[in-house]
Every structure is written in structure tokens, then in C-alpha cells.
């Protein structure tokens, strides 16, 4: 027979003014199993808790019901108090007399009766409670950062400076990301490379950071603190340890006409290449699709000239499996291509370029060394039209959202153009100017007021070529929709920011959620912006939504703080409110019949298969097993299970039926 104590709290006037607490307390004394029942003004206060602990000892209580406020408010308080008195904390339950009764009813006999009923229900539950113990999960204190752009570099540096090992995985041959392609950055116009490259070097030289460039995440198993990540190290076709980065192979490579990805197709590179001179690591890779040797079986010039014999034509991809405690995704974004715009010429016209291409044109390290030359004939463009919202806020292009960075970088582009071509004319077609950031609006006004950039509110309907000019047909909605036609020499489309290629595939590999547009989903849009719904996996930068550099860096440091918080403990302690699959003696072994409907229902990928084997190793039965490290206690599997083989600890079927049956 249970020995349960009931402690009714007045919560000052909150409960006491509506519910007759003394009467409730008296009524509870008659519930079978209750051996002690008292009421008190503030049960959560120090004297209240002491009173409870003394009663537990005096009456040898084995279960406690505290009738007070919401368990969200004080369950940890009372469970701690109970635990200090020597009773398992999970033997303490709270009846919510405040939110569920006194706050929502008038003072009456019925209200008091309801309060007593709420307590009765929980007394029945406590009778079926079993002591539970927190789950301990070990933590591997190594983080993996996926993506080596400015966000990824920042996360890696912050975690590394916090004293933990970081593996920085980047799919391209160098870290640096999109930021390394930018010319100058808004709103200060400082040179992008000048501020980024020192960070890249710092990351490469940091004793706690291991760079894995030209590598991709292939597979992720495990759970928070205990991931097993398989990374594919793509073959660079050279021995990185031997290569000194002298660049002789690049100079001598006969295949020089390959479209250069780093320069967005505006320049050329060789088949053995480093993406850009400041690349980290400064070791080339062989582009096997374009290399003459891989196409014809002859050439090997690079091998001949290499002074350290580092070239390895036979090198294969390598799969590496790593033990990782936390993963930060910082995989960035891609820009919509100009091909997506039939009305702007399907990207066929060389002088209609996208924002990133303009960055390369304006960059001192770009294909024109920063001199304004249009791609088609290398002439200096006298009139340039910039079109903001190209594809963004455009349902028909599948991008209803705002790409966030284009207003600012378009103002910057127009400004850079005017600084380089003083006599030039710059027009910006825009829908709204979204410049909410420190010094952002001032920056846009500077472009308009000081640099004489003409802003026209309206979308461009069509661009076509006539007599060597690009005819841009727009309208000025601030002049009542009056048509505006500009004869331009070059047009820059601020195309939409989209989720990176294969981001959905990566999300599925890591079991994190993503939105309709392929951006990774945060756990809560306001309160948990850098966490995902999967424990131990965090987000930084534009892989979550369009972001500019300051935001990406801030988010990166936030994600690093989350990882450092996780790594500050040797073991993770988790609430034991997790689902368990029923087990019993053979020949049944479990009610579970192995249908694995639960596995498909589980939103946290916490359910795996378990083989029950005979002594000789034969599989007798395959049943579900729930990984307590991953289970979040949502109970979906319990509802799905056809054979009622799964129970949620602390909320078992038995406990819930007992609660209902007493009413």
C-alpha cells in the first residue's frame, strides 16, 4: 500500500482566493493511499519545502503530490526537495490548481471540488509511478563544422579557441567561401579578402583545427555527443604532404582554357589549379574532367615538372570515419543564375551578369584586375543598370522570400562602379530598399545623394539588344508607372539567394529538417535560432536563410557557444522521460512484432532494430529499440504501436489509465 503525502498550496491569493484549500486538504485525507495531507500559504518557499521534507521523514512517505502551480513553474523545485528528503524525484507529481482551476473559475463549491479531483487523479498516478533515474550520455569533445565560408571559419575558430578539437570540412579545394570572391563589403567598403584571408590562415594554423578541404560528408550515424561521421576525401591527385605549393605545375599545365568557377566564368584556369592565389591550403587539385591525361591518357606535364614528385594520378577518394560530439552546418548559399530569366535574355547576353560576377569584375584580384570592363568586348561600360529583386520576392520564380543582401550589395555595386567610372551613369531598379542594419540606410543614401546613382522604383519588364546597346524597359511607379527606357552597356542582376546545391540531401543525411526552399530549419525561429531539431547539430550562416556577413559571423559565434556549452560537460544528463520497448522472458521476448511503424513515425530517428539472438547466434526475433540518447519523449511511437509494446517512462499507459479511471 502506498504512503502518499498531499501538499496543497494557496499560492498567496492565486489559489487561496478561489479554492477552499483547507477543505481540499481535508478531503484528500480520505483518498485511499494518502497518509498525510496539509495546506500552506507558499509551498515553494523555504519553510514550505522544509515542511514537506519533514513530513516525508515523519510519515515515511513514498510518493508526493504537490497541488500548486504549473509543473513548468516549480516541478524542478519540488522534485529537488523530495529528492533531498531521500525519495526518488520522479515519485513527486504536481496537480496544477492554479492555471487549471483557480485562475479559470469563480469561487464556488464546484471549484473546490474540481481542485480535489485534480489531486485525486495525480494520487492515482503516483501509485503507479516507478523511480526513474536520469540518463547519462558520454560526450566526444570534437566538433565538426561543415562548410568553410566565413561562418564555418568563425565557428571553427571560436570552438578551437575554447579549447576543443574541430574538424572543418569544405567541399571545394580551399576554404573562404563566397566572401573570398567579394570585392569590397558594405557598409564600410573594406576589402573582403583583406579581412577574410587572415582568418583563413588562422584557421589553418590553429593547433585545434583540422582542415579537410575537397571533402564531403557522406554519412552520419549516432546521436548528440556521439556521432560517427563518414567523410569522403576527394582525391586531389597529389600528395599533400609532399606538395610545397610552388605552382610550377599550374604554370606548365597546357590546358588553360577551362572556365574558372572562382571568377564565375569570367576568367579561365588550368586543369591542375588552386581556386585563387590566396587559397588555404595553397595546394592544387587536378580537375579530372578537364585534364588531358584523364581524357587521352597522355600529358603528365605536371608530374614531370613537379620538383617534389607530389603528383599521384592513381590516387583514389578516401573514406574517413570520425567520432564527433557536435556538428555545425555552415554550408552557405548559391545565387540564382541569369539563365532563369527569359525576359532578361536567358543569360545568353554576355553583358547581363549576376551580382557575384560583378564582384569579380570589381575585385582587384578578379579577371580584369578591378578595371571596369564589360565581359563581351572589354570596353568600359558608360551606362550600367542594376536590377534588384531579380528573382527574389517573385512567386513565378519560386522565390517568394526576400534575399536580404541584394539591396545593400546593389547600392555597393553602383557605388563601386561610379568610383571606378566617374563619368558613368548608374541606374538601380528596385522594389523597396531594405537597408535595416547599422549604417546601412546611410550607405544607400550615400550612393544616391553623393555618388549620383539614379534609383528608379519599379521592376524591369524586358531587356533586349539593339544597335549594340541593351535596351532596359522599366517603369517608374513613383511617376505613376511612367515607362522608362534606358540604353545600357551592361546590366547587373541581383539574383535571388537560394539554398545550396544538394542541401536537402545533406539535411537528410544528418536528419535535420529543412524548409520548402531547402534552407535548414532552426529549432525555434526566435528562441533557438542556431539549433536544429536534432540534438547536437547546429546552424550558422546562409544555410539557414539569406544572411549577410555580420549576421553570419554573429550566428557562427552563437553556434560555437552552444557547442562549447555542450562540451563543458563530460556526460550529458537527460530527463528519463523516454520511450522504452517492452521486454520480457522468452519465448515472447517482447510484445513488439517488429513492424517498425514506430521507426517511420519517430521525428528524431531514435528507433533502431535490435536482434534477439539465441546462444548460437541465430536471430530469433527482430524488435524495435529506442536510443535513449536521441529520444525526446514525444510519445508518437507509443500512439503508433499496434501491440502496445512501447511505453513512455513517467507517462506509461498504466499511469494514464489509472488517472482516467479514477474520475
Amino acid at each position: 500500500m502506498s504512503r502518499i503525502g498531499v501538499f496543497t498550496c494557496h499560492c498567496g491569493e492565486n489559489i487561496g482566493a478561489t479554492v477552499d484549500c483547507a477543505k481540499v486538504s481535508e478531503m484528500c485525507q480520505h483518498i485511499p493511499g494518502v497518509v498525510h495531507s496539509v495546506d500552506y500559504k507558499y509551498m515553494c518557499s523555504d519553510p514550505g519545502q522544509r515542511m514537506m521534507q519533514e513530513a516525508i521523514k515523519e510519515h515515511s512517505l513514498d510518493g508526493v503530490v504537490v497541488a500548486a502551480c504549473s509543473p513548468r513553474m516549480h516541478e524542478p523545485t519540488f522534485r529537488r526537495a523530495v529528492s533531498n528528503a531521500g525519495v526518488n524525484p520522479y515519485m513527486c507529481e504536481m496537480a496544477n490548481l492554479r492555471e487549471h482551476c483557480s485562475w479559470v473559475h469563480e469561487k464556488s463549491e464546484a471549484t473546490t471540488q474540481k481542485a480535489a479531483d485534480l489531486i485525486r487523479v495525480l494520487v492515482e498516478k503516483v501509485k503507479h509511478n516507478t523511480p526513474l533515474f536520469p540518463i547519462k550520455v558520454p560526450v566526444t569533445k570534437t566538433a565538426m563544422v561543415v562548410g568553410g565560408g566565413v561562418a564555418g571559419i568563425q565557428v571553427a575558430l571560436d570552438i578551437a579557441n575554447g579549447g576543443h578539437k574541430v574538424i572543418l570540412v569544405e567541399k571545394s579545394p580551399s576554404i573562404g567561401g563566397h566572401m573570398s570572391q567579394l570585392s569590397e563589403t558594405f557598409p564600410t567598403l573594406d576589402c573582403s579578402q583583406c579581412i577574410l584571408t587572415p582568418r583563413m590562415v588562422e584557421a589553418a594554423q590553429h593547433p585545434n583545427i583540422t582542415l579537410m578541404t575537397y571533402s564531403e560528408v557522406e554519412k552520419v550515424d549516432g546521436f548528440i555527443g556521439n556521432f560517427k561521421v563518414t567523410v569522403r576525401k576527394k582525391a586531389r591527385k597529389l600528395d599533400e604532404k609532399l606538395c610545397t605549393g610552388c605552382g610550377l605545375c599550374i604554370q606548365k599545365c597546357p590546358n588553360k582554357k577551362i572556365s574558372d568557377e572562382f571568377n564565375e566564368g569570367l576568367g579561365t584556369r588550368t586543369a591542375i589549379y588552386v581556386p585563387f592565389p590566396q587559397a588555404v591550403p595553397n595546394k592544387p587539385v587536378i580537375d579530372t574532367l578537364n585534364c588531358t591525361f584523364y581524357k587521352t591518357g597522355k600529358c603528365k606535364v605536371c608530374e614531370k615538372v613537379c620538383p617534389t614528385n607530389a603528383i599521384r594520378f592513381e590516387q583514389e577518394d578516401e573514406l574517413v570515419t570520425l567520432d564527433i560530439g557536435a556538428i555545425v552546418l555552415a554550408t552557405g548559399f548559391k545565387l540564382m543564375k541569369t539563365e532563369a530569366f527569359p525576359e532578361y535574355g536567358y543569360g545568353k547576353h554576355k553583358d547581363i551578369i549576376d551580382g557575384m560576377q560583378f564582384e569579380r569584375l570589381a575585385s582587384a584580384s578578379g579577371p580584369t584586375a578591378g578595371v571596369m570592363k564589360r565581359p563581351s568586348d572589354g570596353k568600359e561600360p558608360e551606362t550600367v543598370v542594376f536590377i534588384a529583386c531579380s528573382g527574389s520576392r517573385d512567386r513565378s520564380k519560386g522565390v517568394p522570400y526576400c534575399s536580404k543582401v541584394c539591396c545593400m550589395y546593389t547600392a555597393k555595386h553602383a557605388m563601386l562602379y561610379k568610383h571606378k567610372v566617374h563619368s558613368g551613369k548608374a541606374y538601380v531598379f528596385y522594389m523597396d530598399i531594405r537597408a535595416s542594419g547599422k549604417d546601412y540606410d546611410e550607405f544607400v543614401r550615400r550612393a544616391i545623394e553623393e555618388d549620383d546613382v539614379k534609383y528608379i522604383r519599379g521592376r524591369v519588364s524586358k531587356i533586349y539588344e539593339e544597335d549594340g546597346k541593351l535596351i532596359v524597359k522599366g517603369a517608374d511607379t513613383l511617376m505613376g508607372g511612367e515607362q522608362v527606357e534606358i540604353k545600357a552597356d551592361m546590366v547587373v542582376l541581383a539574383t535571388a539567394v537560394q539554398s545550396n546545391d544538394r542541401s536537402e540531401e545533406l539535411a537528410q543525411t544528418l536528419h535535420v529538417s529543412y524548409d520548402t526552399y531547402g534552407f535548414f530549419a532552426e529549432a525555434h525561429p526566435k528562441l533557438r535560432p542556431v539549433e536544429t531539431n536534432t540534438g547536437g547539430i547546429f546552424l550558422a550562416g546562409a544555410c539557414q536563410a539569406p544572411r549577410d556577413i555580420p549576421e553570419s559571423v554573429a550566428q557562427a559565434s552563437a553556434a560555437a557557444a552552444k557547442v562549447l556549452g555542450l562540451f563543458s560537460q563530460d556526460q550529458l544528463t537527460r530527463e528519463p522521460i523516454v520511450a522504452v520497448v517492452n521486454r520480457q522472458a522468452g519465448p515472447t521476448f517482447s510484445y513488439c512484432v517488429g513492424c517498425f511503424l514506430c521507426q517511420t513515425a519517430c521525428p528524431y530517428q531514435a528507433i533502431e532494430q535490435e536482434h534477439i539472438t539465441a546462444r548460437n547466434g541465430d536471430v530469433i526475433k527482430t524488435i524495435a529499440r529506442i536510443n535513449p540518447g536521441l529520444c525526446q519523449g514525444c510519445g508518437t511511437c507509443v500512439a503508433t504501436c499496434r501491440t502496445k509494446a512501447i511505453d513512455l517512462q513517467g507517462f506509461s499507459n498504466e499511469q494514464l489509465y489509472a488517472e482516467i479511471m479514477t474520475l
Partner: protein, 188 residues
């Protein structure tokens, strides 16, 4: 390092406006507060913000549209707009400048004749009496505009209410006023 911002380009109307009035058209961000508060805004074919928008782009055909408009002549220079403008643009100054420009080019709106007659009559009154002399102003305006009988019926009532003094109130130093006019007129 801004391109040519400190030296207005005198080949464009916008540049001449900046040189002549100190007002940079680019400062206007088209919020419309000027048009919203203008006491004659309803009467204007182009409200003040539209005047600015058309001039901002620097297209000659749009400049001409503004110069030919009636609205610029209706502006009373009451300065309600400029006192409320969030960007501190002195709109009446620009209105005045472009009225002059319209006259120079000979493309001012036909209605400008009457308005100009009124301005001239007003200045005549100041020049000769040193003050506003209503009866003289009315007579002068009617002679100039040839609207001889328009609103004549209002005169008796205004006289009875003491609003029309028959004789001008002269200031003491009228020759000073004359000198002032001599020195300024035609130098604008």
C-alpha cells in the same frame, strides 16, 4: 571619394538647380510628405514630390514636362513643405528656380501669365509705397491681366469691412527701397 558630387554638372537641369539653389534633388526620397501638406496640392497637375521625381532622373523630356506644368506656378512658397520635409529639402526654392527656367525657355504654362502679372503688381506696390497697397495692387493686376471686371463685386463689401484702404501707407525711406530694387532686379 564620390564622383563629382561637389561640382554640379551645369549641363543638366538638376545640376543648375543645385548650383542656383543649393538644393540636391537626390536628397528627396519620395515620401510624399510635401504633397500631403501642400495647401494647393489638390489644384496642382504635378504635386511637389512628382516635380522632384521627374527632375531626379535627369531625362530632358521629363525636365520639360515639369517646366511646362501648371503646378509649379501654383506654389505659394508658403514653405509648409520645406518646414516638414524629413530630408530638409527646400522645395519652394526649387519651384522658384524652375519657374524662372520655364520663362527663360519660353515654355511656361499659359496660366503663368496671370500669376506673373500678380507677382509684378505685388512688386510694383512694394517698390513705390514700400508696403503692400491693396487697391493699387488690384488696379495694377487688373490692368496687367485685363481681367477688369473679375471679382469686382467683392470690392464694396471689403471696403465696408475696412479691408481696402483707399490711400497707400507710405514708408519713410522710399528712396532706399528704390535703390534696393534698382540693385537687385534683373540680377536674379
Amino acid at each position: 571619394m564620390s564622383s563629382g558630387s561637389h561640382h554640379p554638372n551645369l549641363e543638366t537641369l538638376a545640376g543648375r538647380i543645385e548650383a542656383g539653389t543649393g538644393v540636391k534633388l537626390a536628397h528627396c526620397y519620395q515620401c510624399g510628405k510635401c504633397a500631403a501638406g501642400c495647401p494647393v496640392g489638390d489644384e496642382m497637375d504635378l504635386p511637389p514630390c512628382q516635380v522632384f521625381r521627374l527632375l531626379q532622373l535627369g531625362f530632358p523630356e521629363l525636365d520639360e514636362k515639369v517646366l511646362r506644368s501648371e503646378g509649379i506656378w501654383l506654389c505659394l512658397a508658403c514653405e509648409t513643405c520645406s518646414s516638414r520635409c524629413p530630408q530638409e529639402v527646400e522645395i519652394p526654392k526649387v519651384m522658384d528656380f524652375i519657374r524662372g527656367e520655364a520663362l527663360k525657355r519660353g515654355i511656361a504654362h499659359p496660366k503663368s501669365k496671370d500669376i506673373l502679372s500678380f507677382h509684378r503688381a505685388f512688386l510694383d506696390s512694394i517698390e513705390y509705397t514700400g508696403r503692400l497697397y491693396e487697391v493699387g495692387l488690384v488696379a495694377d493686376y487688373k490692368m496687367r491681366s485685363r481681367h477688369l471686371l473679375k471679382d469686382v463685386m467683392l470690392a464694396p463689401k471689403m471696403y465696408l469691412k475696412g479691408k481696402l484702404g483707399l490711400f497707400p501707407h507710405l514708408i519713410k525711406n522710399r528712396s532706399g527701397m528704390k535703390t534696393l530694387f534698382k540693385r537687385t532686379v534683373g540680377k536674379g
